[in-house]
Amino acid sequence: MFFQTLKRHFDIIFYRTVAGIKSEGRQRYLGYLWFLLEPILSTAVFYLAYSQITGAKGARTILLILIGMILWQWFEGSIMVAAGSIKAKFHVLNQCNLPKYLFPMVSIAVHTWKFLCVSMVIFLLAALLGHPPNAYWLYLPILFILQLALIASIAMPIAIGVTLWTDLQIVVSSIFRMFFFLSGIFFEISSVPESLQRYFFWNPMAALIDSGRAIILRAEAPAWGHLTPAILLTLLMLLLGALLHAHYDKRILKLTNA
């Protein structure tokens, strides 16, 4: 019975994800192409601004920004949409006895699918611009799984928090804006003063982005030590998320004014 329920929840997430991808694809004239165009456009904006300021130009800079951009958009997009997803599905949750983590999971799955699509473009572009696949690419799935775990672990407590206290959404989005600039999306951590670098690597997203670049651009293994904070934060947030969901699952709708 337990596994049957688990399977049913998995099926719900799967179907909802397919529906989510379909509806995003059908909302605009260019449809699914936006999955690819959106990160490319924002990369173009940052490349134009950044190359004018620093003079760093060329294919490597484009790839550098693109890698940072898609990893960040996967992270931020998933969490921000997951944060509002319990409230958005209030009417469904008010009719059916469903665990509250289902809809945040759907938001994450939709964004992960978008990320996987656009990462194909990166691989292709990297190969075309002089960074062909190397053996270290085999580490990429490990990095992706680690980032997915990080995303899910942060999204779960935030989804409960935002449902109880909507103001948190604004706070979280401001914090994300700050980390956007601290995660080395349009610069490399190696370009900041050496004395500051170790602080930068305490930020899990900075470490994940740098690891991706190490593999694709520098053809070297990621510095695994830098990923320790990501793993610790993931475990901590998973625990917090599990506690919050266990406590609020049957309570949260009574405490919400949706």
Partner: protein
Amino acid sequence: MTKEFSSSPTPDPPAPTPIVTLHDAGICYRPLRSLFNKKAREVWALRHLTLQLNEGEKLGVIGRNGCGKSTLMRLLAQIYNPDEGKVTYHKKNTHIELLSLGVGFEGNLTGRENAILSGMLMGKTRQYMASRLNEIHEFSGLGEFFDYPVYTYSSGMNVRLGFSVAMETNPDVLLIDEVLGVGDQVFMEKSSKALQEKFQGNRTVVLISHSPENIKKLCTRALWLERGAILAQGTPAEVAEFYKNNVHNYTK
């Protein structure tokens, strides 16, 4: 104060098997307050509610708007936990489901896909729903539209699909909130007939209604809920009569 009617509908009733028991249960809504509106908004929708729901019985719940009927349904369906008191489910894995029409339909999916998705939200597995698709298709009378995306549906077609799906979920305890038939004349007749069939046999049903007549017709036991507590309970005929005669005393 609860009005209890002593007469029993059958002279020699068999010992009932409880399926859910509420013991002194209470539900409280505490929505978020704003810095600029500090009025304490704590609403007890149910208070000190003790109720035993027996296997196979058809319980009718009557009461005015805002008396806690829907909250009671959500408590029984395990969507809410009680803030006070205790709820006991006597059998493990009892499937209790609120009858809801078209909840969670995704406009971009077809009627067929939505039937499966919606059934899963209501506690059924994907395989089970897939095996019931022909029945759902036929009952809905949607014809070829069954394979069109739901956003192309009229609101009537939407309810038809929703109702057809709900009819296939067959929970152990069916909770019905005021829905007794939907759609145009033809589908209304068909749907209310199908729903009334759910009252046959050994299924446990809880029906919320504003209509004393429906309660009298469909239920085996009835209670009147007023301000989150039971005001009267007994046979449907007794409670319906009492409700009709006294409801105006409670309207301000």
